[in-house]
Symmetry: C2
Subunit: 486 residues, 2 copies
């Protein structure tokens, strides 16, 4: 196995094309620079204009000078499958088209490959790393993917099949099987010779050292190779303590490891400790962005798939509805509580003027706390051992803010309704804040301990619970102190 890292081709040393096309874009840039548009916007607009005009030669020339990642971005943002295919067909060179393909989102891959023969696809992806091929084939229907695999060179297809057998969000699913590994009995000289022979070796970050049974036993750097006598066996110079991840580790945990140890690549081992692949930092970058997006969307009750795939409105609505239904039930419960207290409300109708305040504020305070904690747990800033101090801190903050807002409300209530209603609202608000911050801190930590993703906690449950408590406290207090409010 040697290093033909998937990045090799798309990296800047290899690229003879450039971001954008200066000549064609100059006037577009002049027109629109002051309209807050980014370079990608302008490139996209130019491509659309050329497409509409049918200026195929110019468009092909422009695409030829663009980086594959930029071409991919243009294709992703074109709205019709037909346009996507047209632009993809205009990209010259199978190798570049393969790279463009590997940078597309899942929908665009399906669309641009729709009319192509399996043999054409096999040809397009022949120079890509096995992880990229696995990504592309993972998007296609299983039948089709199998046929394409059967058309590839056996060594390539075996590697791809190895990756495809792991779930997409695990170390095994995102690793590449192309890495530079040598036996521990090989000498420094052997290693250097192998490095020189490896045509794509420029992206070797680490040389992995394996025992006879292919177990990962060490790692060394290029510099270590160059500073020892040529006949030194690798086992004498390799560092024995290697940070590695197991093949079934969640990609989020892999990302955390790579980020916290500042690694460029992390080796992946199976249950027996056998080296099966590596994950490079650029894939980790994608994972980190993806997971952050996922957490944010989860907190708002939407999901990742949707953002990426730009699916139909109907399927998007289906995905978001369960969250809204939970919320609907919760807010109906709040409504039922108001209904229970209807005589109080009819008696002192001024009470209604603070219902939105109580309902909104508790939820918002909770959102602040739970966002902080969910994100903290995701990035490792908050650990489960911090639980108690984090909890106390959030409740204290809740109390301080409750007192501040409560005092303002008491004053507003005094001026507006000439009486003690404002005091009741103020006290209710402080109580609601305390409940809210406690709940919002406790729930994510509790869910994390239960092994459930805490990002779902900031959503409907906490908000709903907060609304209900806030309104109940408010109306109970109002009923109790009724005689002073009239």
């Amino acid at each position: 196995m040697h290093q033909t890292d998937k990045l090799t081709e798309s990296r800047q040393t290899e690229s003879r094309h450039r971001v954008g096309d200066r000549d064609l874009l100059r006037d577009a840039l002049r027109d629109q620079a002051d309209r807050g548009q980014t370079k990608s916007d302008i490139v996209l607009l130019s491509v659309q204009r050329l497409l509409r005009r049918g200026a195929i030669t110019n468009l092909a020339k422009m695409l030829g000078r663009m980086h594959p990642a930029d071409v991919a971005k243009v294709i992703v943002h074109l709205s019709s499958p037909k346009e996507k295919r047209e632009v993809f067909e205009l990209v010259r060179g199978d190798s570049k088209r393969g790279q463009v393909l590997s940078e597309l989102d899942t929908d665009s891959i399906t669309q641009v490959l729709a009319d192509l023969l399996q043999s054409d696809i096999a040809w397009l992806i022949k120079d890509l790393g096995p992880d990229d091929v696995a990504y592309i084939l993972g998007v296609l229907p299983e039948e089709r993917a199998k046929e394409i695999l059967s058309l590839m060179r056996t060594e390539d297809s075996t590697e791809v099949a190895d990756i495809l057998k792991y779930p997409k969000d695990t170390a095994g699913g995102i690793m590449t099987t192309e890495f530079f590994a040598l036996s521990e009995d090989a000498t420094a000289q052997d290693a250097i010779r192998r490095l020189q022979e490896a045509t794509d070796a420029e992206m070797v970050f680490y040389i992995y050292v394996t025992a006879k049974d292919e177990r990962l036993v060490g790692v060394l750097s290029l510099r270590q190779l160059l500073t020892v006598p040529p006949s030194t066996p690798l086992k004498n110079i390799a560092t024995r303590d290697v940070i590695s991840v197991s093949v079934d580790m969640d990609q989020e945990e892999v990302a955390r490891q790579v980020a916290s140890y500042n690694l460029l690549a992390i080796p992946v081992v199976d249950k027996e400790g056998i080296l099966v692949g590596i994950i490079t930092v650029d894939d980790v970058v994608d994972v980190i962005r993806e997971e952050a997006t996922e957490d944010m969307l989860k907190m708002a009750g939407a999901v990742q798939e949707e953002a990426v795939s730009k699916s139909s409105s109907l399927s998007a609505a289906k995905v978001r509805l369960p969250w809204l239904f939970t919320n609907l039930v919760g807010s109906l419960l709040s409504g039922a509580i108001l209904w229970e207290f209807r005589y109080t409300i009819q008696d002192v109708v001024a009470i209604v003027s603070f219902i939105p305040v109580i309902a909104a504020m508790g939820g918002n305070v909770g959102l602040q706390s739970s966002t902080l904690i969910i994100r903290g747990l995701a990035t490792g800033v908050v650990e489960l051992t911090d639980v108690w101090s984090v909890f106390v801190r959030e409740v204290k903050i809740g109390l301080l803010m409750g007192v501040a807002c409560g005092m303002i409300l008491s004053l507003v209530g005094w001026i507006w309704h000439q009486g003690f209603l404002g005091m009741v609202v103020g006290v209710s608000l402080i109580t609601a804040f305390l409940v809210s911050t406690s709940m919002a801190t406790f729930m994510p930590i509790f869910l994390k301990r239960m092994g459930v993703d805490p990002a779902v906690a900031a959503g409907p449950f906490v908000t709903t619970a907060n609304d209900i408590t806030g309104i109940t406290i408010y109306l109970t207090l109002a009923t109790v102190f009724m005689e002073y409010l009239r």
Copy 2:
């Protein structure tokens, strides 16, 4: 200038220590593996136990076997400054202590360095890359930082001062000034010799080629060097089109570029095109995590500084209050509207039972839309050119979900209050959803065009606007159809 990349030391090939301490931790792991705790939790608990017991020798031994990044994590999570200092003092070796320092958060840096002499600090950080030194000195009071700089070797302190003069969140502020660059007239052989001499050269990703005036003119890979005759001048083999960023570019944009072109390092140039530094991908990983955290917290009305620095409750409350005040004003406006319609409410008190529903649901639907768009704009999934299609899509989704929830509400209203109130609620909800999704889609895009960070838009403004519109529509309809509701 040659490559002594800041990562060198902390990378795994150099590390002789390992994550955790197997011997000491075995029983702790057995105890707690089933309580949902991560390895960091367990390590932290063990350190705390050893500290409390005063088992200094064991603790020092354990720290000695830990990776600097893990030691830093432990220090960050200890609660008292005294404990932090104790653990930091127990780390053996100035070089390792320097690495630990560079991985700490700003508060911990201040705390562990509080009692140290300037000369000790200068000694601790002498082996760190200039970007790490700049980070550490940036945390200390200016006076102290200057003294430490004056105690460092002149060449080192100049490089650090170069970085310190740029804002922290720009390319200049996060770059390192240690990179491998050669004149375009140098030959391949020169380059190889220089590479062999460079003691820390194992982390060279790219060789940058500069003109006589130090302008960046090309880039090449190690492999390109090895495959040409030794006397070839670099200018003949370097790739001319280099993707670079300007020194004042926002770090978020830098991260986007590195991520989209899968680079391991990106060169930083000044206005004249002179190469002044490089940014490596591991720093980009930090930026991406940081920016995602920042956006999430902004959306909830909290801020980054707070999460990182674990500041006092009072200062945290101060940071979060402005957002709550905006919300307070907004919800008081909703309350004022309810007060305006008080006769309607007193007349048909059943109306109150749907107020929480109308208030909560509109806000939540808006949150889904705006989260999707804000995150899309941040990651480049949504471009400003997509505006129209995104807008139409979100409004369509809003309509679909409004019809679904509206029908349920009509039914609930019919059963609960035996009448047309449910219909009024249903229709109001659909209208509120339409307004809500439009607003939530429009606002972030509008703010982005205005050059304002769209993450603030998901917060108070959209929610408040939604609440007010929802309640107004509901009560207006209820008043109009009053005779059918009684």
